[in-house]
Symmetry: D3
Subunit: 159 residues, 6 copies
Amino acid sequence: MSTRLSHLNDKGEARMVDVSAKSVTSRTAVAEGFVAMAPETLDLILDGKAPKGDVLATARIAGIMAAKRTHELIPLCHPLPLTQVVLDFTPSRDPSGITVEATAKVEGKTGVEMEALTAVSVACLTIYDMCKAVDRAMIFSGIRLIEKTGGRSGHFRAP
Amino acid sequence: MSTRLSHLNDKGEARMVDVSAKSVTSRTAVAEGFVAMAPETLDLILDGKAPKGDVLATARIAGIMAAKRTHELIPLCHPLPLTQVVLDFTPSRDPSGITVEATAKVEGKTGVEMEALTAVSVACLTIYDMCKAVDRAMIFSGIRLIEKTGGRSGHFRAP
Amino acid sequence: MSTRLSHLNDKGEARMVDVSAKSVTSRTAVAEGFVAMAPETLDLILDGKAPKGDVLATARIAGIMAAKRTHELIPLCHPLPLTQVVLDFTPSRDPSGITVEATAKVEGKTGVEMEALTAVSVACLTIYDMCKAVDRAMIFSGIRLIEKTGGRSGHFRAP
Amino acid sequence: MSTRLSHLNDKGEARMVDVSAKSVTSRTAVAEGFVAMAPETLDLILDGKAPKGDVLATARIAGIMAAKRTHELIPLCHPLPLTQVVLDFTPSRDPSGITVEATAKVEGKTGVEMEALTAVSVACLTIYDMCKAVDRAMIFSGIRLIEKTGGRSGHFRAP
Amino acid sequence: MSTRLSHLNDKGEARMVDVSAKSVTSRTAVAEGFVAMAPETLDLILDGKAPKGDVLATARIAGIMAAKRTHELIPLCHPLPLTQVVLDFTPSRDPSGITVEATAKVEGKTGVEMEALTAVSVACLTIYDMCKAVDRAMIFSGIRLIEKTGGRSGHFRAP
Amino acid sequence: MSTRLSHLNDKGEARMVDVSAKSVTSRTAVAEGFVAMAPETLDLILDGKAPKGDVLATARIAGIMAAKRTHELIPLCHPLPLTQVVLDFTPSRDPSGITVEATAKVEGKTGVEMEALTAVSVACLTIYDMCKAVDRAMIFSGIRLIEKTGGRSGHFRAP
């Protein structure tokens, strides 16, 4: 691993790293996060007919759309022609909450870690938004990169 | 507190809540989060001349700009004429990482929790992006609403 | 009704109309449209458990989000602080298809016709996108303003 | 043609289809639509010196710009490096109105139907916006894909 | 006039200035700029039938649309509900080129200088883009604020 | 050089030029501009501890982010997968001000002149925004393309 911050030049000024010479390869990234919430909030999401479907359906759409706008949000990210974005939600009773997992793929010159992490973050924010009227104390934790394949730096798997 | 999810109608379909009849009041929200990282990563950010300034300067700008786009990212958020967004970063040695705090203000019909939380989330993502070449194992945790004032639901302070 | 095109000045050049002097009033607009499709396509949307929910749930979210971006898409539209956007879908067997209806509300200086029409249009496009693998011959028709209240021009109801 | 909705997984949840393995080919799509309007409205657009030019010039620009943002508007669309977008307008006296036609091209892994249809839809919306002060009863109809070339599914021509 | 940079706090960190307590007043700003070009380039724009209309028509639309997105482009700008944006173009033979003037209005808590300057800048860029195939040596100069009214700082007129 | 405006068809209507048949090559563009300001304004930017860093750091980020959105701002620009964007700032005492230089790179079918010019323009606007409280009379001048490599039209260097 590098011991320099590649996004900063010699004078420490921000720059968008030159990836012109990098080769186009298949790259994937998987990220995850957890929205901790009161059991009653989880019930409201999971319970009944439609509410369940739509809170997570809305968060899923929000996450996918945000992944496509990652380079607009993160200043030094390169624009990437994403070939796939998938979000999965897994409810948990103990601790009470929902695990969000996002997978992003691209054939490109740079990795898609930021796209996967952005999808997770915005999905978490959307769940918060849709439930905040009943539970303002929700907390997001464990947002991190799980796995990454492709590119010169090779395979990464979270320890 | 309500026991219904105000963003879902009787059939559980997503909707943007009608705030026409709500009054315009001064509202503020403060959110925070923590980016855990290796001590060496923190050194690289804090140490030296420019890198420190620019990693956090970039994250600060990214957070402010994202707050202004919250309603584009979170499907059911109302557009709001933000009157202020401030981000603060506090480095920590034990645990090793950086605390991100965002404050948002508006004179509006709805609260600015989502704007503050979005600012924190995107600032965390930007820190990750700028340091990921040296530390892919960074984790975001404790992203949550700290305080909220204004509006009918009154004052909220995280327990 | 005016007999001039208010968006064009004396020389016929495009301009964003000055609404500074207009008063802020409650305004609503309702628009609708119809996506005609093969009966089998409608079956795939309505049938089964999840597909139904998610095609329309996705179109609903897309329509709401597009309404918020109307002023970015339509060159001479003013930005508006929307207070509500609602989309409704009604399946029909004869003719085969889905009616999309959108309602938009604002407390503002100009009407929300364009927001309601944009929501309908993007919801129709999303339905097309999600079903085009099985039916490329879908047609959108009858996209129009149904009703409008508020503002100086008063109440409008489609004939 | 498939009999499954490719945008939904086994559980009916929305997903962005994986196109990683698809080959890059030349693809084109042509879409059209019709804005029906009162004869006097059409006169105002066609008549005189400048107004004619600018209503359609504005709609043309709006359509082109919207085509480039299709993947931001339609949740499950892939971002595409469009190589061309063209809009044509043909006035009609009987019925009274304007036909909008859009052509989009790309060298890519997925088709450009949505880009062409989005260009047509936003051009129609822009015509409505620029003439609504004199004619709120305009209706969009016949918005559909006319032709599509390239890609595995081959040539499509509207029946 | 202040002798501090209001966008920087005591530590010199960027922040979005708090305008919560400022009163809503009518504000206008006028900005201008000049695109210097070869006489032949100017001929191509002014000459003939359609080209003239459309280069400037396109630049006008681009400037208006950019004004509405100023707060997305300029990191510390507040979002503003613009009530009017107008662009004017004046060709000049000596020196050879086109003067771009933009006027922006708002009823708001902060001024619209940035919106007017952004409209001028993006209109200049669009003229460049549309003529660069025949003249890459065009230069933008004299982009500046001409006049500003409203707000606590009062009337400004360029010296 | 062409003697026709390639962005206009035979009827002078705007169109996005077809670049399908152009080959993908390495392309770079360098643009520059100058923000003239009072010596005291320059002092405020350069002087002291943090203000210096952050005014230019903010302008740098704004310029990079704007480069990535060039195709959203300039109506007939093609979307491009930028591989690098760099901004440099050089203060000057006589005349008093700051020179902004931007370099953009891409492996693509069209050049990156507009991306470099857009980065310069938005960086200038951001400097203006951050200093306007102390100096409303700043002027942008000399915004132009300095150099361009790659593509069929070959090497260009400003005279």
